[in-house]
Homo-oligomer: 326 residues x 4
């Protein structure tokens, strides 16, 4: 088994999955907006950036577009925060191509799902992660549990085994089942692994307080693209054990999260409604020049846009200061 | 709406989804074996070839590998049968890249699934097919219903609408539900569409007799890679209305299909067991020099290989004559 | 292991799952209509009657109501055809109560699903069938595969094992997957079991021709309540090997089956739309005085009733002669 | 719409779902043990008792057995705590029979699932709850969200509507998705409903701290049968806002919960492993004379029983004092 990479950067804290702004629907990456958006998140004091996640519309991006995204964000970050990159694709060979690209483009971490489209056995999933790690042992590899897209739930015992052998440095869990996250945390403790050895991140932006109460190490909040300051504050409150205040802030954040329910399910899928609302909110806040999504996403209509603007205004999203908070 | 392409080649009859032989597990395409295998299928008198389907391990192939497959088979075919190509990928932009590649490489048809990984609405799926057709209106576009991989069942009413407007020229149904196929055939008749306008193919190789009895136009049998002559004979019997003889032949074919159940579910997924058995059978028959699959597929062990050889021998698969049957 | 009961009546051919007409929504069984309806089916020359299946609204019937149904139909049948009774309930103890009731009420066969609501292992499902058989070894026990209700698919290997040991005398498959049925038929042959020892019935009324072509022994058609003569004729054609004529009749029958799609999915579930259409069709034909269903089923509205009447009229359902056909 | 019943007892706090001890596997209720067990729970200072839940093996109990359970526990409680009763069955008419029985037997609350086995529309599910409430308006009706058994997730908007109109007094959520519970709590606040009007209980015994942090009103812990004192203490800590201490206690409780994973999934289903471990733990603690379950449950073997005993011993489950804690 390959040795772990003890100096690979750790990923914990608030790590927004950076949205990808587009210039047209081919789609062409709006690198200028992307750089400004990444800078805004860093000034809000997030701990790291996760590019090419599901909410980055990575499933719509060519290899070239993916490289452009990593390079743009790495340059904008200029070393202020580490960057981890999703390598989402159907199978080991295709993921390995993305791994090489991410390495070339300067990412410091990788986030990989189980194979999809093809039907795989747990042993095949473990082999998949091992081959990815061997191809880039200097990068921190995180497993990405996202059953709504991959239609597989990653087995906790397998994850702990892969952590012990040094293949995995962490997991991003977007399974929506907080009991699963807690079980992982309890199994990590039993296995004698420390958080610095295996980082457990929640992708459920509406239950961050739960995850931290159980002992999670960070959060990857899609909504953090819209309101990064609130998630940074939430992280601080929860780290300080101010649980009731944290839960109260979480409740206020969840009011803003309602934007994802505005797009009509009679006309569009969950991805159009969710991503569309994030992009529209950023458009309304003046961060994105447009809310363009890749096809075949359906755009929100004027009425829906107005409803989103209303929710965003009611939430009084704080502006990120021009210089990073101390 | 774009006009139909009345002179686009029709796809019907026996259309094997051509397996992709590999030289190593990067994977590198074994073009020599692929060409010989395609020639063998054509000499067996199949009606067309479907490259880059699910059983071609397309989910494991880079754009370059996919182009190599199409070009190799097109050259081997030398115009004797038309070739249709799968353009399997997660989203419209990525599929459109494959469409351009397939057009360049000389395919005459396209087979596309609904988007996957992302959650889509039926209206988004329809838009997906329309954009594909507009990008290559001269190619016959088939929808590919394969819920086990895509986790979406294509709506029959949507398919018929897309057929009427000229977007789709057919469907390959691998849903495993013969009632679905029959409903489609009945809806086609009601819509006043002829088989030449919308071709309905079954991907269920063990119930071809059912599909033809209902009025299907052809079959895309993975097992046809191993025993093409039996499927060609089955097609002929069923076309001539010799149903009982067809059912009897189908029963014998299904004995051979048992090879897909040999690989142990305790060690491997359905894809390793299924594809692995097809490749091993071809290896045993001397058609493929190896049964190599792309990672993270698990290889069959010696005991399993022996069990497959035994089933293949018992089935007495007929050798394809050196010159095409009349 | 208990010995098989070689003289238990065989169930094969056309076996309609008899609908339960109601006088009110408590529900109270309309025994007079039920008896007349059973007689009508027998005069149409069906081979047996299946009472208390899913389409009998058995999930809405108390033990007393269930007994009334069996007794009413048994008396109406007066020995002309054998009667088999569903014993649908969540667990072994509750099913055993129904088994005793069915025995008392004079049923000659039993049809049982796997346990539901509770999560069970295949070994527990096998034990479930064994206990049922031991409680009434003189009755022919059929397994009922209906995943849409029970959320379990019965394992074919387990069924064959239960058949060999004499626990099961047959299966009614309502799984909607004709490949499953064919696999069972092929496994029966390999196990050296004859159709008289293990009877395989399809519950898919729109693909009877497929099932018979594969070697099935009979059909349990819900739509047979409405148009029994067509199913009896279909059975005869298929038994005589007149496959093309059979498929043509099946297509005409499937036109009538469209009634199940009339009820709006915006207002009601599949059960209300399906059962409601059968009961409304029988009401339109003058067989049932009303289309009353048990709560919380939603009734069809006037527009929907008219649409059903139109489909029924177009199908020209033949009237059952007053004396049984020769 | 029927008026709410403002004086119906409120159900909140720790409400164990009381297990049903058996004398044999018919099953016959061991009323003596049941009464002693109920008394033990009440002396541990729980807030109410929930009889005939899923973990009471209600799916295995006849109407008579169900009445015996309610009466036994009601007599044992002697008015010290209120008692709510599950009315689990497939459909409205059958549930209404159980409602009448529960009323007769002296229950003060009802807990009902959506219909199952039959496929129902949300409007039908709402009608189901309304009919139940109308049949016993003096009882507090709780909805029971348990998708693993019922295969339906109750729609939060429907639940809030039923709460506003006075049909529902609360929900027991065993969906395992804490985001769902939080959404319900947030929607309750927005609807202007107070906890006394609509009580939200979690059935997830390993994430009680999460649920309370979000604002839940109580917990229905199956494991509370084994260790009621820990849940009563957990409730107190969380009510006092001692979140970190609560989470720490929850972690210790979850060590005990590991007993549910001891039963081998190769031999038994989740119900046998889970319920079996609860009953075996109570046997080991001397509370139950046996761990007998209803058929077709599989019993734990000697090795598994030893493993459970070890976990129980390690957890140092505190003995419940002979007189109720102050």
């Amino acid at each position: 088994m390959t040795a772990p990479a003890p100096d690979a950067p750790l990923f914990h804290g608030v790590i927004p999955p950076v949205l990808s702004p587009f210039l047209d629907d081919s789609p062409r990456i709006d690198t200028e907006t992307l750089a400004r958006h990444a800078d805004r998140l860093i000034r809000a004091d997030v701990d790291a950036l996760f590019v090419l996640g599901s909410s980055a519309e990575t499933a719509f991006l060519s290899r070239e577009n993916r490289r452009i995204v990593i390079e743009t964000v790495r340059e904008a970050a200029a070393g202020r925060v580490p960057i981890t990159a999703g390598v989402i694709d159907m199978s080991t060979p295709l993921v390995l191509d993305h791994v090489r690209d991410a390495l070339d483009a300067g990412a410091q971490g990788l986030v990989a799902t189980a194979p999809f489209y093809v039907r795989t056995h747990p042993a095949e999933i473990a082999e998949h992660f091992r081959r990815i790690h061997r191809a880039a042992p200097e990068l921190s590899l995180f497993a990405y549990n996202i059953p709504v897209s991959v239609h597989t739930v990653l087995d906790p015992a397998m994850l702990i085994e892969l952590a012990r052998e040094g293949t995995l440095r962490g997991i991003k869990d977007s399974g929506g089942n907080d009991g699963y996250l807690r079980t992982l945390i309890e199994m990590r403790a039993e296995a004698g692994l420390r958080p610095e050895e295996f980082s457990i991140l929640t992708g459920s932006e509406t239950t961050v307080d739960f995850a931290y109460l159980a002992g999670a190490d960070g959060v990857v909040p899609g909504l953090g693209n819209v309101d990064p300051l609130s998630y940074v504050e939430l992280h601080r409150l929860l780290r300080e054990g101010r649980w009731a205040e944290g839960a109260e802030l979480q409740r206020r954040i969840n009011q803003l999260f309602r934007i994802v329910t505005v797009g009509s399910p009679a006309r569009m899928g969950g991805s159009s409604a969710g991503l569309g609302s994030f992009k529209e909110a950023l458009h309304h806040l003046g961060v994105f020049p447009s809310a363009l999504m890749a096809p075949p996403h359906v755009a929100l209509n004027e009425e829906e846009k107005a409803a989103i603007a209303e929710i965003v205004d009611a939430a009084q999203v704080r502006e990120v200061p021009e210089v990073s908070e101390p």
